[in-house]
Symmetry: C2
Subunit: 509 residues, 2 copies
């Protein structure tokens, strides 16, 4: 970035400060979930609120607004592919969104969400939707108000998705769902008609230190850079970047679900490899990080499901796993184990869902969000709507609201417009995978040898390095030559699970 | 704090934000030393610099200056003992100091110190004073310039000590040293004439997990509040408060010095109990924290040396230690062990010094600082000066500058005026101890039972709760009815070590 116009240099300097503050907020959030003693709650809350408020004030300040306006003017005469031109576009996109939302609204939202989250925790513990409903009502009203800041819109829900998935429209998501819905429902039903794999070894006792050692071996093989990251324990696994050179993931061990640790570690490593792979040229800029939640999720899903539940992967790693767990797995054949880690079983809980049913959980949530937002249903109607949809898509009925509409924390903190990103991630993952395997015909042989460098470097070069400097749409089209699409995903799913469950060919004639 | 004048409420609101930022800077510093992966250095540096700059800008802003000026006016009509009046005085003291130092100076100092610290690390590794000297020269010039901002002064060194020990004068410290010097030199020499205790068990092999478990038992008995703090490992032990309700200490294990972990844990716990004991009414104010470095050090010294190396302490804990380390200590009598942990041996390295010689190390440093600051010696003269003083006070000669003038990191980051606080801490510790033992005649019986609640609560009530709301001088006088004084300290030292080493009565006739 030599010969950088003064206006852009000024903008970058102001934004670097905002990025520093946001990184600090990330570190505080990580610390809260990994290190903080219980007494630290208030002091962490104060630090975090102050830093986020200062970051917001600085980002939406007149000074930054003027710098951005000058930089936009000067960027017009630059080739649009130039990194600094892309950077100005990212800043403009974020700024234009941020300044539309009044400070009073941000404050009210934070207060309502804080109370709602507390209420949700209690409501879920008691499975009492009624005590959460008034809070949800307020949050839906706030979501509607938020959408109002962005009018005119083709659909009010567009405004809610935009922060997580820039440029993706409600009509597109609805189109995607209408294709996926019947095909995934049919696939899940066809599988349910087949005998369920018997896998007593999946419920055996496994030692936590041994499982941690194995999962650490796997993510090291994937290429997690331990000099620029770390792994800790936390209640729920997550990944958080404090810049590209300090990317932290967490894991947990549940003795009743011993392999969860392993697949969750692969999942978080997918997120981490993306962050660690962003080009250093985006350090201290708004272009650092992932292009969207959907693109981020594509990386976690790719490593967890497409790679980590694949036959070649286990051809390499299963003998090593057997070695570590002789008594549990010594007599279990690879084929049986591979089938067990790809078991399909419609369940009530999204975070426990398999590949075949996951999107169906997402659809239930997105459809209810849209219906509440547009007033098609009231918040009072939502639990019955939820249960009906679960029966229709998954053939299961929540026994309680805790295992139904109260299960996810998203709404309790005001996250509307978020869920669709999981499905977009699933689609994008397969599109990227198809392109990679076409570019590297040796892919299966490499994975069978435990070599993941070729895949990782392909992803870095095609995707990771660009950070947020392209939109999700631009990225997918640049890399695959296609728009975000359902066909590759359905082909992957129907082929993989058709084979695993010995189904007759399914899908459209 | 009901009926708080608007001016003071405004001031408190502005200061709360500064405190939040400083707490965040503390968390980042802790993370750097405990968690950060190596790649995180630049991103942490940026976060930390930005947050500290914003905190400084906000603290010295016109808005805060006006609020403080209004608050000072309104505080004049309040009883001076009222918490809010004390708070305004603390804020005024800090503000008046901060605004005297120009931003350009702060920036230059940060740059010089950063380069000097790098140079010092290399210089110490190679024991090459010559490569550090140009940096020290710049730092001394900056220290002189700093003192200039505070003229008129009785002594330029007063300005350097003030940030660490508010209100303490160079003349007082010199007076203290002139009393301590000959008495501590004489005591050390008398001890050197006695046979050294033989303690092969102090060099035996001890397991780290067992030693950690024992030291954790000890600091839990002292009253470290694990719900409002935590303990980790780091290269050098330290304590850092992120507010009063999240106080973090660190420890380390050196197999060549197995008991260091234990005494360092007691030391850091002394700091932590002070921070955890500050009254919640000072949360998010400038009055949170310790009154000065010297007062802080008094707490760490008290718990480590006066309690942790005392006979009653080991009467309780030695049988438990023996149980954990049968093969190493099973046949070692309590008396022998107690004498070993109070071994006196003049050494080259301050951080390894015993109670009798510690202040002598401090004097060497303070005397050189004053001599360089006033131009009595040049930085070129400093190593020879150091070695002469070491010979004179401790009877030892550094073999290398690495084990001599280059051993401490303080000067390399521009910390002049800091060392005297260690000696002040030693004096204050004994003054507080004398008052406590007078107030609680059962003290020895309690400690023999492993009960430390009485001491801890006495300290909390007398000292900890007040945070920074009184100056060190005010605190010592309020609690003990005396000024900071050498006599109790010398009496403690001469009595304890006279007894341990079977010396004939020493001290002034």
């Amino acid at each position: 970035m030599s010969d950088i116009p003064l206006s852009i240099a000024t903008l970058n300097r102001l934004l670097a400060e905002v990025v520093d503050l946001r990184n600090a907020a990330s570190l505080i959030a990580w610390d809260e979930r990994v290190c903080m003693p219980p007494g630290g709650v208030p002091v962490h809350g104060d630090m975090s609120a102050t830093i986020q408020r200062i970051a917001h004030d600085k980002f939406t300040s007149d000074e930054l607004g003027r710098a951005l306006s000058d930089a936009r003017r000067d960027a017009e005469s630059l080739p649009p592919e130039l990194p600094m031109a892309r950077l100005v576009r990212v800043a403009a996109r974020d700024y234009d969104r941020a300044v539309r939302v009044p400070g009073d609204y941000v404050e009210e939202h934070a207060q309502v969400a804080s109370a709602a989250h507390q209420a949700w925790q209690a409501a879920r513990a008691e499975s009492s939707y009624a005590s959460f409903q008034p809070h949800l009502e307020k949050l839906v009203r706030l979501a509607r108000q938020y959408a109002g800041f962005f009018e005119p819109l083709a659909h009010p829900y567009d405004a809610l998705m935009d922060p997580y998935e820039p440029g993706i429209l409600t009509s597109e998501v609805q189109g995607i769902f209408s294709v996926l819905r019947s095909r995934q429902v049919d696939l899940a039903r066809a599988i349910q008609d087949r005998p369920a794999p018997d896998a007593p070894f999946a419920r055996a006792e496994y030692g936590e230190p041994q499982m941690l050692a194995f999962s650490t071996e796997v993510i090291s093989a994937f290429g997690f850079d331990w000099t620029r990251g770390r792994q800790d324990k936390s209640t729920h696994p997550f990944a958080v970047p404090i810049g590209s050179d300090d990317v932290r993931i967490t894991t947990r061990f549940d003795p009743r679900n011993p392999f969860e640790m392993l697949f969750a570690a692969m999942h978080e490593t997918g997120h981490a490899l993306y962050e660690q792979g962003v080009s250093p040229e985006w350090n201290r800029t708004l272009a650092r990080g992932g292009a969207s939640l959907g693109v981020h999720e594509s990386q976690s899903r790719l490593w967890e499901n497409i790679v980590g539940r694949s036959r070649p992967f286990w051809e390499h790693f299963y003998p090593r796993l057997q070695q570590g767990f002789q008594s549990q797995l010594g007599s279990v054949a690879l084929e049986k184990f591979h089938k067990a880690v790809n078991r399909v079983k419609p369940s009530l809980i999204r975070v426990e869902a398999d590949e075949v049913t996951y999107n169906l959980h997402v659809m239930v949530r997105v459809e209810i969000e849209i219906a509440m937002l547009t007033g098609a249903i009231s918040t009072a109607d939502a639990p019955a709507y939820w249960n009906t949809k679960m029966q229709e898509y998954l053939g299961v009925q929540p026994d309680t609201d805790a295992n139904g509409i109260l299960q996810d924390m998203h709404w309790s903190v005001g996250l509307f417009g978020y869920f669709a990103t999981y499905t977009l991630g699933n689609l994008i993952a397969v599109q990227l995978w198809d392109k990679y395997t076409a570019d590297d015909p040796q892919w299966a042989a490499r994975i069978r040898r435990g070599e993941f460098g070729s895949l990782r470097e392909w992803l870095r070069s095609a995707l990771h390095q660009h950070g947020r400097s392209y939109t999700p749409r631009e990225l997918v089209e640049r890399i695959t030559g296609q728009q975000i699409s359902t066909a590759p995903y359905l082909a992957y799913l129907e082929s993989k699970y058709g084979e695993l469950y010995g189904l007759s060919p399914i899908g459209p004639a």
